[in-house]
Protein backbone atom coordinates (compact mmCIF):
# COMPACT_ATOMS: atom_id res chain seq x y z
CA UNK A 1 0.00 0.00 0.00
CA UNK A 2 2.81 2.40 0.89
CA UNK A 3 4.34 1.65 -2.49
CA UNK A 4 1.85 4.16 -3.83
CA UNK A 5 3.87 6.92 -2.17
CA UNK A 6 6.86 6.08 -4.38
CA UNK A 7 4.98 7.85 -7.16
CA UNK A 8 5.82 11.58 -7.46
CA UNK A 9 2.19 12.67 -7.93
CA UNK A 10 1.20 10.73 -4.79
CA UNK A 11 4.04 12.38 -2.88
CA UNK A 12 2.88 15.81 -3.95
CA UNK A 13 -0.73 14.98 -3.06
CA UNK A 14 0.36 13.74 0.39
CA UNK A 15 2.45 16.87 0.93
CA UNK A 16 -0.57 19.04 0.01
CA UNK A 17 -2.57 17.24 2.70
CA UNK A 18 0.20 17.73 5.26
CA UNK A 19 0.09 21.48 4.54
CA UNK A 20 -3.72 21.70 4.59
CA UNK A 21 -4.18 19.78 7.86
CA UNK A 22 -3.00 22.54 10.28
CA UNK A 23 -5.17 25.06 8.40
CA UNK A 24 -8.09 22.68 8.82
CA UNK A 25 -7.27 22.42 12.53
CA UNK A 26 -6.78 26.06 13.40
CA UNK A 27 -9.35 27.68 11.09
CA UNK A 28 -11.75 24.72 11.21
CA UNK A 29 -11.95 25.23 14.98
CA UNK A 30 -13.08 28.83 14.49
CA UNK A 31 -15.41 27.89 11.62
CA UNK A 32 -17.18 25.30 13.77
CA UNK A 33 -17.28 27.39 16.97
CA UNK A 34 -18.46 30.53 15.16
CA UNK A 35 -21.09 28.80 12.98
CA UNK A 36 -19.25 29.72 9.78
CA UNK A 37 -19.54 26.31 8.09
CA UNK A 38 -22.22 27.38 5.61
CA UNK A 39 -20.30 30.58 4.87
CA UNK A 40 -17.13 28.54 4.22
CA UNK A 41 -19.04 26.28 1.85
CA UNK A 42 -20.35 29.42 0.11
CA UNK A 43 -16.86 30.90 -0.39
CA UNK A 44 -15.85 27.64 -2.07
CA UNK A 45 -18.85 27.73 -4.39
CA UNK A 46 -18.21 31.41 -5.15
CA UNK A 47 -14.67 30.63 -6.26
CA UNK A 48 -16.04 28.35 -9.02
CA UNK A 49 -17.05 31.05 -11.57
CA UNK A 50 -13.74 32.79 -10.86
CA UNK A 51 -11.85 29.62 -11.73
CA UNK A 52 -13.93 29.10 -14.88
CA UNK A 53 -13.02 32.57 -16.10
CA UNK A 54 -9.39 32.47 -14.97
CA UNK A 55 -8.00 30.11 -17.61
CA UNK A 56 -9.26 31.78 -20.81
CA UNK A 57 -8.74 35.27 -19.34
CA UNK A 58 -5.13 34.46 -18.44
CA UNK A 59 -5.55 35.30 -14.75
CA UNK A 60 -3.79 33.04 -12.20
CA UNK A 61 -6.57 30.73 -10.93
CA UNK A 62 -5.80 31.32 -7.24
CA UNK A 63 -6.11 35.08 -7.73
CA UNK A 64 -9.40 34.74 -9.61
CA UNK A 65 -10.76 32.42 -6.92
CA UNK A 66 -9.67 34.83 -4.18
CA UNK A 67 -11.32 37.75 -6.00
CA UNK A 68 -14.57 35.84 -6.40
CA UNK A 69 -14.45 34.67 -2.78
CA UNK A 70 -13.79 38.23 -1.61
CA UNK A 71 -16.69 39.62 -3.65
CA UNK A 72 -18.92 36.87 -2.23
CA UNK A 73 -17.88 37.73 1.35
CA UNK A 74 -18.55 41.46 0.96
CA UNK A 75 -21.82 40.82 -0.89
CA UNK A 76 -23.11 38.43 1.76
CA UNK A 77 -22.09 40.81 4.55
CA UNK A 78 -23.93 43.76 2.95
CA UNK A 79 -27.01 41.74 2.01
CA UNK A 80 -27.15 39.91 5.35
CA UNK A 81 -27.25 43.17 7.29
CA UNK A 82 -30.45 44.25 5.55
CA UNK A 83 -33.59 43.89 7.56
CA UNK A 84 -35.56 40.81 6.62
CA UNK A 85 -32.81 39.01 4.69
CA UNK A 86 -30.51 37.37 7.25
CA UNK A 87 -27.02 35.99 6.83
CA UNK A 88 -28.02 32.41 6.00
CA UNK A 89 -30.49 33.40 3.28
CA UNK A 90 -27.94 35.83 1.82
CA UNK A 91 -25.31 33.07 1.80
CA UNK A 92 -27.69 30.60 0.12
CA UNK A 93 -28.66 33.14 -2.52
CA UNK A 94 -25.07 34.10 -3.36
CA UNK A 95 -23.99 30.44 -3.35
CA UNK A 96 -26.66 29.41 -5.88
CA UNK A 97 -25.97 32.43 -8.08
CA UNK A 98 -22.22 31.70 -8.08
CA UNK A 99 -22.68 28.02 -8.98
CA UNK A 100 -25.20 28.85 -11.70
CA UNK A 101 -22.99 31.60 -13.12
CA UNK A 102 -20.05 29.20 -13.17
CA UNK A 103 -22.02 26.52 -15.03
CA UNK A 104 -23.37 29.02 -17.58
CA UNK A 105 -19.88 30.40 -18.16
CA UNK A 106 -18.36 26.93 -18.38
CA UNK A 107 -20.82 25.83 -21.07
CA UNK A 108 -19.31 28.43 -23.40
CA UNK A 109 -15.74 28.58 -22.13
CA UNK A 110 -14.88 24.91 -22.05
CA UNK A 111 -15.34 22.28 -24.71
CA UNK A 112 -15.56 19.25 -22.44
CA UNK A 113 -17.19 18.84 -19.04
CA UNK A 114 -14.20 17.14 -17.43
CA UNK A 115 -12.58 20.43 -16.43
CA UNK A 116 -15.74 21.47 -14.61
CA UNK A 117 -15.60 18.20 -12.68
CA UNK A 118 -12.09 19.04 -11.53
CA UNK A 119 -13.02 22.55 -10.47
CA UNK A 120 -16.01 21.33 -8.49
CA UNK A 121 -14.52 18.19 -6.93
CA UNK A 122 -10.77 18.78 -6.95
CA UNK A 123 -7.80 17.14 -8.58
CA UNK A 124 -5.52 16.18 -5.73
CA UNK A 125 -3.45 13.87 -7.95
CA UNK A 126 -2.67 16.75 -10.33
CA UNK A 127 -1.31 19.11 -7.65
CA UNK A 128 1.88 20.83 -8.85
CA UNK A 129 4.80 22.64 -7.26
CA UNK A 130 3.09 26.02 -7.60
CA UNK A 131 -0.02 24.74 -5.80
CA UNK A 132 2.13 23.41 -2.97
CA UNK A 133 3.93 26.74 -2.65
CA UNK A 134 0.59 28.60 -2.52
CA UNK A 135 -0.71 26.25 0.18
CA UNK A 136 2.53 26.74 2.13
CA UNK A 137 2.15 30.53 2.01
CA UNK A 138 -1.52 30.24 3.03
CA UNK A 139 -0.53 28.01 5.95
CA UNK A 140 2.08 30.52 7.14
CA UNK A 141 -0.41 33.41 6.85
CA UNK A 142 -3.19 31.43 8.53
CA UNK A 143 -1.02 30.45 11.49
CA UNK A 144 0.25 34.02 11.86
CA UNK A 145 -3.32 35.40 11.80
CA UNK A 146 -4.37 32.83 14.40
CA UNK A 147 -1.41 33.65 16.64
CA UNK A 148 -2.12 37.37 16.36
CA UNK A 149 -5.91 37.26 16.80
CA UNK A 150 -6.46 34.11 18.89
CA UNK A 151 -7.56 35.97 22.00
CA UNK A 152 -9.91 38.33 20.16
CA UNK A 153 -11.36 35.33 18.26
CA UNK A 154 -11.99 33.48 21.52
CA UNK A 155 -13.39 36.44 23.47
CA UNK A 156 -15.45 37.76 20.54
CA UNK A 157 -16.81 34.33 19.67
CA UNK A 158 -17.70 33.55 23.26
CA UNK A 159 -19.43 36.87 23.91
CA UNK A 160 -19.51 39.48 21.12
CA UNK A 161 -21.23 42.09 23.32
CA UNK A 162 -18.82 41.89 26.26
CA UNK A 163 -15.77 41.05 24.13
CA UNK A 164 -15.44 44.52 22.66
CA UNK A 165 -15.45 46.02 26.17
CA UNK A 166 -12.36 43.95 27.05
CA UNK A 167 -10.23 46.38 25.04
CA UNK A 168 -9.86 43.97 22.11
CA UNK A 169 -10.42 44.87 18.47
CA UNK A 170 -13.11 42.28 17.91
CA UNK A 171 -14.43 43.56 14.59
CA UNK A 172 -11.00 43.82 13.00
CA UNK A 173 -10.21 40.31 14.27
CA UNK A 174 -13.47 39.02 12.76
CA UNK A 175 -12.52 40.40 9.35
CA UNK A 176 -9.08 38.84 9.68
CA UNK A 177 -10.77 35.49 10.36
CA UNK A 178 -13.02 35.81 7.33
CA UNK A 179 -10.02 36.72 5.15
CA UNK A 180 -8.00 33.79 6.49
CA UNK A 181 -10.91 31.43 5.77
CA UNK A 182 -11.20 32.76 2.20
CA UNK A 183 -7.48 32.18 1.59
CA UNK A 184 -7.66 28.68 3.09
CA UNK A 185 -10.65 27.84 0.91
CA UNK A 186 -8.81 28.97 -2.22
CA UNK A 187 -5.74 26.80 -1.57
CA UNK A 188 -7.95 23.84 -0.65
CA UNK A 189 -9.67 24.03 -4.07
CA UNK A 190 -6.86 22.08 -5.77
CA UNK A 191 -7.32 19.20 -3.39
CA UNK A 192 -11.07 18.92 -2.94
CA UNK A 193 -12.68 21.40 -5.36
CA UNK A 194 -15.25 24.15 -4.96
CA UNK A 195 -18.03 21.92 -3.64
CA UNK A 196 -16.03 19.83 -1.18
CA UNK A 197 -13.92 22.38 0.75
CA UNK A 198 -16.00 21.59 3.82
CA UNK A 199 -14.54 18.07 3.76
CA UNK A 200 -11.21 19.59 4.79
CA UNK A 201 -12.12 22.80 6.61
CA UNK A 202 -15.29 21.79 8.48
CA UNK A 203 -15.74 18.03 8.92
CA UNK A 204 -12.56 17.22 10.92
CA UNK A 205 -13.17 20.05 13.43
CA UNK A 206 -16.89 19.22 13.66
CA UNK A 207 -16.02 15.57 14.36
CA UNK A 208 -13.54 16.39 17.14
CA UNK A 209 -15.57 19.18 18.73
CA UNK A 210 -17.73 17.14 21.17
CA UNK A 211 -14.59 15.49 22.58
CA UNK A 212 -12.40 18.59 22.99
CA UNK A 213 -12.10 20.17 26.45
CA UNK A 214 -10.70 23.45 25.17
CA UNK A 215 -9.95 25.37 22.00
CA UNK A 216 -6.28 24.33 21.70
CA UNK A 217 -7.14 20.65 22.00
CA UNK A 218 -9.89 21.08 19.42
CA UNK A 219 -7.40 22.66 17.00
CA UNK A 220 -4.80 19.93 17.61
CA UNK A 221 -7.36 17.13 17.32
CA UNK A 222 -8.84 18.56 14.13
CA UNK A 223 -5.35 18.89 12.61
CA UNK A 224 -4.59 15.25 13.40
CA UNK A 225 -7.94 14.05 12.05
CA UNK A 226 -7.64 16.14 8.87
CA UNK A 227 -4.21 14.57 8.31
CA UNK A 228 -5.49 11.03 8.90
CA UNK A 229 -8.62 11.46 6.78
CA UNK A 230 -6.63 13.12 3.99
CA UNK A 231 -3.88 10.51 3.78
CA UNK A 232 -6.22 7.54 4.27
CA UNK A 233 -8.61 8.96 1.68
CA UNK A 234 -5.74 9.41 -0.74
CA UNK A 235 -4.58 5.80 -0.36
CA UNK A 236 -8.14 4.50 -0.56
CA UNK A 237 -8.79 6.51 -3.72
CA UNK A 238 -5.58 5.15 -5.27
CA UNK A 239 -6.49 1.54 -4.41
CA UNK A 240 -10.10 1.89 -5.59
CA UNK A 241 -9.28 4.15 -8.52
CA UNK A 242 -11.80 6.65 -7.14
CA UNK A 243 -11.61 10.50 -7.16
CA UNK A 244 -9.56 11.46 -4.05
CA UNK A 245 -11.47 14.62 -3.08
CA UNK A 246 -14.79 12.78 -2.94
CA UNK A 247 -13.17 9.79 -1.17
CA UNK A 248 -11.80 12.09 1.56
CA UNK A 249 -15.25 13.66 1.95
CA UNK A 250 -16.98 10.28 2.25
CA UNK A 251 -14.39 9.08 4.77
CA UNK A 252 -14.90 12.29 6.77
CA UNK A 253 -18.65 11.73 6.79
CA UNK A 254 -18.26 8.09 7.94
CA UNK A 255 -15.90 9.06 10.79
CA UNK A 256 -18.25 11.87 11.82
CA UNK A 257 -21.08 9.32 12.09
CA UNK A 258 -18.89 6.93 14.09
CA UNK A 259 -17.90 9.76 16.44
CA UNK A 260 -21.59 10.48 17.04
CA UNK A 261 -22.15 6.82 17.92
CA UNK A 262 -19.14 6.74 20.27
CA UNK A 263 -20.43 9.85 22.00
CA UNK A 264 -23.87 8.34 22.39
CA UNK A 265 -22.68 5.11 23.99
CA UNK A 266 -19.92 6.60 26.11
Amino acid sequence: MLDAFQLPFMQRAAFEIVLLAPLAGVLGTQIVLRHLAFFTHGVGAAAFPGLVLAGPAGIPPALAALGAGGAFTLGVERLGRRRGVGLDAATALALVLALAAGIVLASDVYESGSEVDQLLFGSLLAVGGGDLAATGVALALGLLAAAYARRAWLAGGFDPVGGAALGLRIRAADWLLVAAIAVAVVVALDAVGALLVSAVLVIPAATVRPFAANVSRLALGATALALIEGLAGLVLAYELDAPPGATIAVLGGVLFGLALLVRRFR
Binding site: L33, A147, Y148, A149, R150, R151, A152, L154, A155, G157, F158, D159, P160, V161, G162, G163, A164, A165, L166, G167, L168, R209, A212, A213, N214, V215, R217, L218
Partner: protein, 249 residues
Protein backbone atom coordinates in the same frame (compact mmCIF):
# COMPACT_ATOMS: atom_id res chain seq x y z
CA UNK B 1 -8.77 64.26 35.60
CA UNK B 2 -8.10 66.13 38.81
CA UNK B 3 -8.45 64.34 42.18
CA UNK B 4 -12.00 64.51 43.43
CA UNK B 5 -13.31 64.86 39.90
CA UNK B 6 -16.15 62.46 39.02
CA UNK B 7 -15.21 59.06 37.58
CA UNK B 8 -18.06 59.29 35.09
CA UNK B 9 -19.16 62.67 33.75
CA UNK B 10 -21.86 62.79 31.09
CA UNK B 11 -22.97 66.14 29.72
CA UNK B 12 -25.68 66.82 27.13
CA UNK B 13 -25.49 63.31 25.74
CA UNK B 14 -27.50 62.39 22.65
CA UNK B 15 -26.98 58.80 21.52
CA UNK B 16 -28.60 56.14 19.36
CA UNK B 17 -28.36 54.54 15.94
CA UNK B 18 -28.54 57.89 14.10
CA UNK B 19 -29.34 61.55 14.90
CA UNK B 20 -32.93 60.93 13.71
CA UNK B 21 -33.31 57.87 15.92
CA UNK B 22 -31.64 59.01 19.14
CA UNK B 23 -32.58 56.69 22.01
CA UNK B 24 -31.49 59.23 24.61
CA UNK B 25 -31.32 63.03 24.40
CA UNK B 26 -29.86 65.74 26.61
CA UNK B 27 -28.69 63.39 29.37
CA UNK B 28 -26.33 64.82 32.02
CA UNK B 29 -25.06 63.32 35.27
CA UNK B 30 -21.80 62.90 37.20
CA UNK B 31 -20.75 59.96 39.39
CA UNK B 32 -17.94 60.35 41.93
CA UNK B 33 -15.60 57.52 42.89
CA UNK B 34 -16.91 55.07 45.48
CA UNK B 35 -20.61 55.03 44.58
CA UNK B 36 -23.06 52.41 43.47
CA UNK B 37 -25.64 53.67 41.00
CA UNK B 38 -28.86 51.94 39.93
CA UNK B 39 -30.11 52.86 36.48
CA UNK B 40 -33.87 52.51 36.14
CA UNK B 41 -35.96 52.87 33.04
CA UNK B 42 -38.52 51.08 30.88
CA UNK B 43 -37.58 48.73 28.04
CA UNK B 44 -36.52 50.90 25.12
CA UNK B 45 -35.94 53.79 27.53
CA UNK B 46 -32.25 54.06 26.65
CA UNK B 47 -30.43 52.03 29.33
CA UNK B 48 -28.62 49.86 26.79
CA UNK B 49 -27.83 52.86 24.60
CA UNK B 50 -26.38 54.71 27.60
CA UNK B 51 -24.08 51.75 28.32
CA UNK B 52 -23.03 51.56 24.69
CA UNK B 53 -22.30 55.30 24.69
CA UNK B 54 -20.19 54.94 27.87
CA UNK B 55 -18.29 52.08 26.21
CA UNK B 56 -17.76 54.19 23.08
CA UNK B 57 -19.83 51.84 20.93
CA UNK B 58 -22.96 53.85 20.14
CA UNK B 59 -23.14 54.44 16.36
CA UNK B 60 -24.26 58.03 16.94
CA UNK B 61 -23.22 60.22 19.85
CA UNK B 62 -23.02 63.94 20.62
CA UNK B 63 -22.31 65.66 23.92
CA UNK B 64 -19.44 64.64 26.17
CA UNK B 65 -18.62 61.48 28.10
CA UNK B 66 -15.59 61.75 30.38
CA UNK B 67 -14.23 58.74 32.24
CA UNK B 68 -11.66 58.90 35.01
CA UNK B 69 -10.31 55.44 34.23
CA UNK B 70 -10.83 52.35 32.15
CA UNK B 71 -14.28 50.81 32.07
CA UNK B 72 -15.34 47.18 32.45
CA UNK B 73 -18.64 45.74 31.27
CA UNK B 74 -20.63 42.78 32.56
CA UNK B 75 -23.18 41.65 29.96
CA UNK B 76 -26.25 39.56 30.69
CA UNK B 77 -25.21 35.93 30.82
CA UNK B 78 -27.71 34.92 28.11
CA UNK B 79 -25.60 36.86 25.63
CA UNK B 80 -22.65 34.51 25.99
CA UNK B 81 -22.28 31.20 24.20
CA UNK B 82 -22.87 28.28 26.55
CA UNK B 83 -21.56 25.72 24.06
CA UNK B 84 -18.05 27.21 23.91
CA UNK B 85 -15.29 24.92 25.20
CA UNK B 86 -14.06 27.38 27.85
CA UNK B 87 -13.70 26.90 31.60
CA UNK B 88 -14.68 29.47 34.22
CA UNK B 89 -10.99 30.36 34.57
CA UNK B 90 -10.62 30.75 30.77
CA UNK B 91 -13.47 33.29 30.79
CA UNK B 92 -11.98 35.27 33.70
CA UNK B 93 -8.56 35.26 31.98
CA UNK B 94 -10.20 37.12 29.06
CA UNK B 95 -10.25 40.14 31.40
CA UNK B 96 -6.43 40.22 31.27
CA UNK B 97 -6.11 39.86 27.46
CA UNK B 98 -5.79 43.57 26.70
CA UNK B 99 -2.75 43.85 29.00
CA UNK B 100 -0.75 41.06 27.37
CA UNK B 101 0.86 41.59 23.93
CA UNK B 102 -0.24 38.99 21.35
CA UNK B 103 3.22 37.43 21.06
CA UNK B 104 3.47 36.75 24.82
CA UNK B 105 1.62 33.82 26.37
CA UNK B 106 -0.48 34.46 29.46
CA UNK B 107 1.78 34.16 32.51
CA UNK B 108 1.65 33.53 36.21
CA UNK B 109 0.62 37.15 36.95
CA UNK B 110 -2.48 36.83 34.76
CA UNK B 111 -3.38 33.47 36.29
CA UNK B 112 -3.05 34.88 39.81
CA UNK B 113 -5.19 37.91 38.93
CA UNK B 114 -7.87 35.65 37.42
CA UNK B 115 -7.73 33.17 40.31
CA UNK B 116 -8.11 35.98 42.86
CA UNK B 117 -11.06 37.43 40.92
CA UNK B 118 -12.78 34.03 40.90
CA UNK B 119 -12.16 33.75 44.66
CA UNK B 120 -13.75 37.12 45.20
CA UNK B 121 -17.04 35.97 43.69
CA UNK B 122 -16.78 32.71 45.67
CA UNK B 123 -16.08 30.40 42.74
CA UNK B 124 -12.45 29.37 43.31
CA UNK B 125 -13.63 25.76 43.39
CA UNK B 126 -15.18 25.99 39.93
CA UNK B 127 -12.11 27.28 38.04
CA UNK B 128 -11.93 24.20 35.84
CA UNK B 129 -15.68 23.81 35.29
CA UNK B 130 -16.99 24.44 31.80
CA UNK B 131 -18.76 27.83 31.68
CA UNK B 132 -21.87 26.30 30.12
CA UNK B 133 -22.24 23.80 32.97
CA UNK B 134 -22.48 26.46 35.69
CA UNK B 135 -25.82 27.76 37.00
CA UNK B 136 -27.11 31.10 35.71
CA UNK B 137 -26.07 32.85 38.92
CA UNK B 138 -22.61 31.28 38.84
CA UNK B 139 -22.17 32.34 35.20
CA UNK B 140 -23.09 35.89 36.13
CA UNK B 141 -20.46 35.79 38.91
CA UNK B 142 -17.84 34.49 36.47
CA UNK B 143 -18.58 37.42 34.14
CA UNK B 144 -18.22 39.78 37.13
CA UNK B 145 -14.86 38.11 37.93
CA UNK B 146 -13.83 38.73 34.32
CA UNK B 147 -14.62 42.44 34.80
CA UNK B 148 -12.64 42.38 38.09
CA UNK B 149 -9.64 40.95 36.23
CA UNK B 150 -9.73 44.02 33.96
CA UNK B 151 -8.87 46.08 37.05
CA UNK B 152 -10.97 49.02 35.86
CA UNK B 153 -12.14 52.03 37.86
CA UNK B 154 -15.66 51.97 36.43
CA UNK B 155 -17.87 48.88 36.14
CA UNK B 156 -21.11 48.64 34.15
CA UNK B 157 -23.44 45.73 34.85
CA UNK B 158 -26.43 44.94 32.63
CA UNK B 159 -29.21 43.57 34.87
CA UNK B 160 -26.83 41.33 36.83
CA UNK B 161 -29.54 40.23 39.27
CA UNK B 162 -32.33 39.24 36.91
CA UNK B 163 -32.94 35.50 36.86
CA UNK B 164 -30.13 34.86 39.33
CA UNK B 165 -30.48 32.44 42.28
CA UNK B 166 -30.61 33.97 45.76
CA UNK B 167 -27.09 33.02 47.04
CA UNK B 168 -25.55 34.34 43.83
CA UNK B 169 -27.58 37.54 44.06
CA UNK B 170 -26.47 38.16 47.63
CA UNK B 171 -22.86 37.43 46.76
CA UNK B 172 -23.02 39.80 43.78
CA UNK B 173 -24.47 42.64 45.87
CA UNK B 174 -21.80 42.07 48.56
CA UNK B 175 -18.99 42.20 45.98
CA UNK B 176 -20.42 45.38 44.45
CA UNK B 177 -20.46 47.03 47.88
CA UNK B 178 -16.83 45.98 48.48
CA UNK B 179 -15.78 47.44 45.14
CA UNK B 180 -17.60 50.66 45.97
CA UNK B 181 -15.66 50.83 49.23
CA UNK B 182 -12.44 50.42 47.23
CA UNK B 183 -13.31 53.54 45.25
CA UNK B 184 -14.87 52.15 42.08
CA UNK B 185 -17.92 53.64 40.40
CA UNK B 186 -20.47 50.85 39.89
CA UNK B 187 -23.35 51.35 37.45
CA UNK B 188 -26.08 48.71 37.48
CA UNK B 189 -29.10 48.67 35.18
CA UNK B 190 -32.11 47.04 36.82
CA UNK B 191 -35.86 46.63 36.55
CA UNK B 192 -36.31 46.25 40.27
CA UNK B 193 -37.34 49.47 42.02
CA UNK B 194 -37.07 47.90 45.49
CA UNK B 195 -33.52 46.75 44.74
CA UNK B 196 -32.60 50.25 43.53
CA UNK B 197 -33.33 51.59 47.01
CA UNK B 198 -30.23 49.75 48.25
CA UNK B 199 -27.89 51.76 45.99
CA UNK B 200 -26.12 55.04 46.82
CA UNK B 201 -27.57 56.84 43.81
CA UNK B 202 -30.38 56.24 41.35
CA UNK B 203 -30.57 57.45 37.75
CA UNK B 204 -34.03 57.28 36.18
CA UNK B 205 -34.13 57.60 32.40
CA UNK B 206 -36.83 57.41 29.78
CA UNK B 207 -35.25 58.70 26.56
CA UNK B 208 -34.08 61.66 28.71
CA UNK B 209 -32.89 62.03 32.29
CA UNK B 210 -35.89 62.04 34.66
CA UNK B 211 -34.09 62.13 38.02
CA UNK B 212 -30.63 61.57 39.49
CA UNK B 213 -29.81 61.47 43.20
CA UNK B 214 -30.05 59.42 46.40
CA UNK B 215 -32.93 56.89 46.32
CA UNK B 216 -34.95 58.80 48.90
CA UNK B 217 -35.11 61.81 46.57
CA UNK B 218 -34.99 60.19 43.17
CA UNK B 219 -37.57 57.49 43.72
CA UNK B 220 -40.64 59.67 44.27
CA UNK B 221 -44.00 58.54 42.91
CA UNK B 222 -43.93 61.39 40.41
CA UNK B 223 -40.49 60.43 39.06
CA UNK B 224 -41.48 56.77 38.73
CA UNK B 225 -44.66 57.74 36.94
CA UNK B 226 -42.69 59.85 34.47
CA UNK B 227 -40.05 57.13 34.06
CA UNK B 228 -42.34 54.20 33.47
CA UNK B 229 -45.64 55.76 32.39
CA UNK B 230 -48.25 53.06 31.81
CA UNK B 231 -45.89 50.25 32.82
CA UNK B 232 -46.03 51.31 36.47
CA UNK B 233 -48.52 50.03 39.00
CA UNK B 234 -48.56 51.53 42.50
CA UNK B 235 -49.60 48.93 45.06
CA UNK B 236 -52.54 49.65 47.40
CA UNK B 237 -50.27 50.56 50.32
CA UNK B 238 -49.26 53.62 48.30
CA UNK B 239 -45.61 53.05 49.14
CA UNK B 240 -44.46 50.35 46.82
CA UNK B 241 -44.55 50.36 43.06
CA UNK B 242 -43.99 47.54 40.61
CA UNK B 243 -43.15 47.63 36.95
CA UNK B 244 -45.12 45.53 34.50
CA UNK B 245 -42.57 44.53 31.91
CA UNK B 246 -43.48 44.47 28.26
CA UNK B 247 -40.78 42.72 26.32
CA UNK B 248 -40.27 43.79 22.76
CA UNK B 249 -37.54 41.43 21.64
Amino acid sequence: MTPGAPLVAVDGLDAGYSPERAAITGLSFAIPAGRTVAILGPNGGGKTTLFRALLGEAPHRTGTVELGGTIAYVPQTERSRLDFPVSALDVVLMGTYARVPWYRPLGRAERETAGAALGRVGLEGEAGTRFGELSGGQRQRVLIARALAQQSKVMLLDEPLSGVDRPSGERILAVLDELRDEGLAILVSTHDIEQARGFDLVLCINREGIAFGPPAEALSADVLQRTYGGELIVLPDGERAVVVQHHHH
